[in-house]
C-alpha cells in the first residue's frame, strides 16, 4: 500500500465524513514517512479531543503502522469556520 496524500484524504472523507481535509507530507523534514493532517468533520461534534483523534487513528490504522510521525488537528465545521474567520 502506498501511502500518499490523496490516499489519506480519500480515506478520511469516506470513512469519517470529513468535509474538509488538508494533508501535508512532512516526510522531507524527517527521515521517514510523516504526515500532518487537518480534518473537519461534523462527526466530531460533541466529542472530546481524545475521542476525535482516536476516530482518525482508527480510520488510518493500517497506514499508521507504516507512518513514523503523525500530527493531527480535528475540528467541527463550526470550529473550522470560526478559525477561518479570525
Amino acid at each position: 500500500m502506498e501511502i500518499t496524500v490523496d490516499h489519506i484524504r480519500n480515506k478520511l472523507t469516506t470513512e469519517i465524513g470529513a468535509v474538509h481535509v488538508e494533508v501535508e507530507d512532512t516526510s522531507p523534514n524527517r527521515c521517514a514517512a510523516s504526515f500532518k493532517v487537518l480534518v473537519v468533520s461534523p462527526q466530531f461534534e460533541g466529542k472530546p479531543l481524545l475521542q476525535r483523534h482516536r476516530m482518525v487513528n482508527t480510520c488510518l490504522a493500517e497506514e499508521l503502522k507504516e507512518i513514523h510521525a503523525f500530527e493531527q488537528k480535528t475540528l467541527t465545521p463550526e470550529q473550522w469556520e470560526k478559525q477561518r474567520a479570525s
Partner: protein
C-alpha cells in the same frame, strides 16, 4: 517487579542518581525522575498509576530526541510541572511497542494524568492553548505556574 526495577524505584523515591546494576551486560541507570524499564514483564497499568504525571517519550526531559517529545517537555515546564515520571522508549523496544498496545495509540510521546491516557503532543498543545491543561493540572492537585505568572502581570 524484579529486584532490578525494585532497586531503581528505591532510587527514584530517594531522588538520587544511582547505578542500579546491569542486565545482560547492559548497564542501567536510575535517576530521580527517569527509569529505564528493565527487560521482561512491564506492568504499564502500574507504571502509569505510580505517578500523577507520566510521559513516555523519545529521549529524556533534559535531552529529548524528538520534536514532539520535546514539545511535551516544554509545555509541562511552562506550567511548572518538573516532577513527573519520564520513560525513554528509545532505550527499550518492548517498552516502545508495549505502551502503544497498552494505550491503543500509535505514536510517541504519550501523556498520562492519574493513570488516564490524555493524548500525545497535539492534544497536550491544544489543551495548553485553550486553557484545559491548567484545569486538568488543578484536578491533579498541581497548580500551574502560568496562574502565578498571570497574577504577577496584574
Amino acid at each position: 517487579m524484579n529486584t532490578l526495577v525494585r532497586s531503581a524505584v528505591r532510587c527514584l523515591r530517594a531522588g538520587t542518581v544511582c547505578r542500579t546494576g546491569s542486565i545482560n551486560g547492559q548497564v542501567l541507570y536510575g535517576s530521580a525522575r527517569l527509569l529505564c524499564a528493565a527487560a521482561g514483564q512491564t506492568d504499564f497499568a502500574d507504571m502509569v498509576k505510580k505517578d500523577k504525571v507520566v510521559v513516555f517519550m523519545k529521549g529524556t526531559p533534559s535531552q529529548p530526541m524528538c520534536g514532539f517529545s520535546n514539545a511535551v517537555v516544554q509545555i509541562l515546564r511552562m506550567h511548572g510541572v518538573d516532577e513527573y515520571a519520564a520513560y525513554n522508549v528509545l532505550e527499550d523496544q518492548e517498552l516502545r511497542q508495549g505502551v502503544k498496545a497498552f494505550s491503543n495509540w500509535p505514536t510517541i510521546p504519550q501523556v498520562f494524568f492519574n493513570g488516564e491516557f490524555v493524548g500525545g503532543c497535539d492534544i497536550l498543545l491544544q489543551m495548553h492553548q485553550n486553557g484545559d491543561l491548567v484545569e486538568e493540572l488543578k484536578k491533579l492537585g498541581i497548580r500551574s505556574a502560568l496562574l502565578d505568572a498571570e497574577k504577577d502581570k496584574n
